[in-house]
Each structure stands twice: as structure tokens, then as C-alpha cells.
């Protein structure tokens, strides 16, 4: 599993240094696909409906549908190709690398025995911290959405480690539906707000009576 986790770390890190929203979406798709592979290896053979739903959630929803929906919205809006998810300067890049090192150090403290579980905690902590870094350094809607989805993927990865509890199929379905509903709303806001937010100095729309 370690090569998978290392590849996952690469997929988490690389889009930070490639200033393109296509790379960010490709990164999200890669995270979904790799997490599905990790789950398949951890839970193989898949016995319960909940496990299959979890696999579909990672592979299809996070790996394909979410990036595809966002891609269609951004393409329809003719979003300019360049999008820095963190400020393009040496300080931000150093902070990003430092966060990965701190995550590995944290995982070493949290999980004493070195091995796959320790690496999984390290990679998920890296994903969480880098997602929070994106959220804290950029204020445009597109970067914020990508940051939020990075955080959510990191939490999903953390869920894969340790002892697996078999969530009921309905609960698993509910979790996936809630995630899908949130992404649909995010796509709608990206469509209406634009990837850079409302234009500065745009005339304010007349407001009607409020409830």
C-alpha cells in the first residue's frame, strides 16, 4: 500500500505548484481514484453493501463525478486557465513542504509502529493541513471550493485507516448523498458567483422586500 500512499501524497502536493484549475481538478480526481484503491486493498474482499457503497463513493463520486461537474461549470464560464490555489511565492511553497514534514513527524508521534498505518495518518494529515492552507490563503470561490474538497478528501482518507467499522448501507448512502448535495451547491455557486467572485464595482441589484 505504501506506493499508493506516496502516489496520493504526490497527487495532493503537485497541484499546489501547478497554477491551473485543470490540474487542481485532476488532483481531486486522482485523490478519489487512489483512495478507492486504498479502500479496495484494505477491505478486500468486500462483503457488505456498505463497503461497496464506500468504494463507489470514492471511485465514482469523488474520483469522477465531482471533478467532472466542476470542470463543466468552469469550462462553461470560460474561466481563465491560471488559478493559484496558494500564493505563488517561495514562502508559501516552503510552508507547504514544512506542513508535509510536520505531518510525518506528527504521524510518527501518533502511531508508534512505523508502517502503512503511520504513512496513512501522515498523508491524511498532510492533505488536511494543505487544504486548510489553501482555504486560509485564497479568498476566491474556486480556490475555496478546491480547499474545502481537499479537506473533505483528507478526512475520507483518515477514515480508511484503523479498524473498519461497517456502517449501515443507508447511513453510508446518506453520507455520500450529503457530500454530493454539497458539491452540487458548490457548483451552483461557482456558476453564479464566478470563479473570482462578483465583479468589483458591479452595479448593485435592486433588493425587494425581505422575509
Amino acid at each position: 500500500m505504501n506506493p499508493l500512499l506516496i502516489a496520493l501524497l504526490g497527487v495532493i502536493l503537485l497541484p499546489l505548484f501547478v497554477a491551473s484549475w485543470r490540474a487542481s481538478l485532476l488532483g481531486l480526481a486522482g485523490q478519489g481514484a487512489l483512495m478507492a484503491l486504498v479502500l479496495y486493498r484494505v477491505a478486500h474482499p468486500l462483503h457488505s453493501a456498505a463497503s461497496w457503497l464506500a468504494l463507489l463513493d470514492l471511485a465514482v463520486l469523488r474520483g469522477v463525478l465531482v471533478p467532472l461537474v466542476l470542470y463543466r461549470v468552469l469550462r462553461a464560464r470560460n474561466t481563465r486557465p491560471r488559478n493559484d490555489v496558494i500564493p505563488p511565492n517561495l514562502i508559501s511553497w516552503t510552508v507547504a513542504i514544512a506542513m508535509v514534514l510536520v505531518s510525518f513527524s506528527f504521524a510518527g508521534t501518533l502511531v508508534a509502529a512505523s508502517g502503512e498505518r503511520q504513512t496513512l495518518v501522515a498523508v491524511s494529515t498532510s492533505g488536511l493541513m494543505l487544504g486548510l492552507l489553501v482555504l486560509s490563503t485564497r479568498s476566491d470561490p474556486l480556490s475555496q471550493v478546491i480547499g474545502a474538497l481537499r479537506v473533505e478528501n483528507a478526512i475520507a482518507l483518515f477514515e480508511l485507516g484503523g479498524e473498519r467499522h461497517e456502517a449501515q448501507a443507508l447511513v453510508q448512502l446518506g453520507l455520500s448523498a450529503a457530500f454530493a448535495g454539497t458539491v452540487v451547491l458548490f457548483a451552483r455557486y461557482l456558476h453564479t458567483l464566478g470563479s473570482d467572485g462578483p465583479a468589483v464595482g458591479a452595479p448593485a441589484e435592486a433588493e425587494g422586500p425581505t422575509l
Binding site: 474545502a148 467499522h165 450529503a178 448535495g181 425587494g208 422575509l211
Partner: protein, 190 residues
């Protein structure tokens, strides 16, 4: 049984309000449903004991009773205000077709949060409150309203994600201590 009424009544009316005939009277439908649900909630609050339903997933305990008896009357008061407001400003009538389903979903999920004892179901219900509140915030359709709604969704999404992480950590901690984790408060208490 009446604890299910807290969830079923808004869900049923949510379907009904999509009918074109009733959409014109959406605020009245909202008021009626809020009244029915408030009656159910007060009945729950006054009943001495309610047996758990769905294998312990729905439990009406003392805390649930307190908040059911507080939240639902407040929601009813809000519905009275909305009905009155719409009656005096017919311009608002056009928005009610979108507003009422969201408000009913919000009520349903709030009640689900209060009576659910399964942490993951509770988390899903909390997420649904966010998903139903966002369209209500952006209902005016102005850039400021949309921006506020987007920010609300973003903060809630991240906050609920961190809550979910907390639930996972709690389950890991309990699992390492020995007893099986059922994601129920009773299990946590043991």
C-alpha cells in the same frame, strides 16, 4: 410513534407543496405544517416516556424533549410572521415556491438532529440543515446574498468535516479501549 410525526409531516408536505395549486398558498401550507409539528413536539415533551424506534436510532430523551418544545414553537412563530409578511407584500409570493420546501426540509432535519441518537445519522441531519438553509439565504438572488450563502455553506462544510473527524477519532479511541463502537451515546457512555 408521534416522534416519527416530527419527521413525516414536513416530508409529506414537502412533496405536496410541489403541486402547482398549492404553490400559490405555500406560506399557508408552511404555517399548517409548522402547527401540526409543534403539536407533535409538545405531545412528545409532555409524554412520560417514549420507546426508542429503529433499533435505538431514534430516542426522545429529556434533552430532546426540552429542545423539541423550544425549537418547534419558535419555528411556528417564524411561520406566522412569514405568512403575515407574504400577505402584506405580494411580491414575495413568487419566492415562496422555493422557500417553503427548503424551510420544511430545515424543520425536518432540525427535528432529526434532536431525536437521533446515532452520531452519523445526526451528522447527516446537520449537513441537511446546512444544505436547506443555503438556498434560503440566497433567495433574494442578489450578489451579496449569494456570497453570504456561499460563505455559510463553506464554513458549515468545513466545520462539519472537522466534527466528522472528531467522531472518527472518538470511535478510534473507544475501539482501542476494547468495547465495540456503535456510534450511540449509550455506547460512548460505557
Amino acid at each position: 410513534m408521534s416522534s416519527l410525526g416530527l419527521l413525516v409531516a414536513p416530508a409529506m408536505e414537502n412533496v405536496v407543496v410541489w403541486l402547482r395549486v398549492l404553490r400559490a398558498r405555500a406560506s399557508l401550507v408552511l404555517l399548517l405544517v409548522a402547527s401540526v409539528v409543534t403539536v407533535f413536539a409538545i405531545a412528545q415533551a409532555l409524554s412520560p416516556s417514549v420507546p426508542p424506534a429503529f433499533g435505538g436510532t431514534i430516542v426522545v430523551d429529556a434533552t430532546s424533549r426540552l429542545f423539541l418544545a423550544t425549537l418547534n414553537p419558535i419555528f411556528l412563530a417564524v411561520c406566522v410572521y412569514i405568512h403575515n409578511r407574504v400577505a402584506h407584500s405580494p411580491v414575495l409570493l413568487g419566492r415562496m415556491g422555493r422557500f417553503v420546501p427548503c424551510a420544511l426540509t430545515f424543520l425536518l432535519s432540525c427535528n432529526a438532529v434532536l431525536i437521533s441518537s446515532h452520531l452519523l445519522v445526526l451528522w447527516i441531519a446537520l449537513e441537511v440543515t446546512t444544505l436547506s438553509a443555503c438556498p434560503m439565504i440566497a433567495i433574494q438572488g442578489t450578489p451579496a446574498a449569494r456570497q453570504a450563502s456561499f460563505r455559510y455553506l463553506l464554513f458549515s462544510f468545513i466545520a462539519l468535516g472537522l466534527v466528522f473527524l472528531g467522531v472518527l477519532c472518538a470511535s478510534r479511541g473507544l475501539a482501542s479501549a476494547g468495547p465495540p463502537v456503535m456510534f450511540l451515546p449509550d455506547g460512548l457512555a460505557q
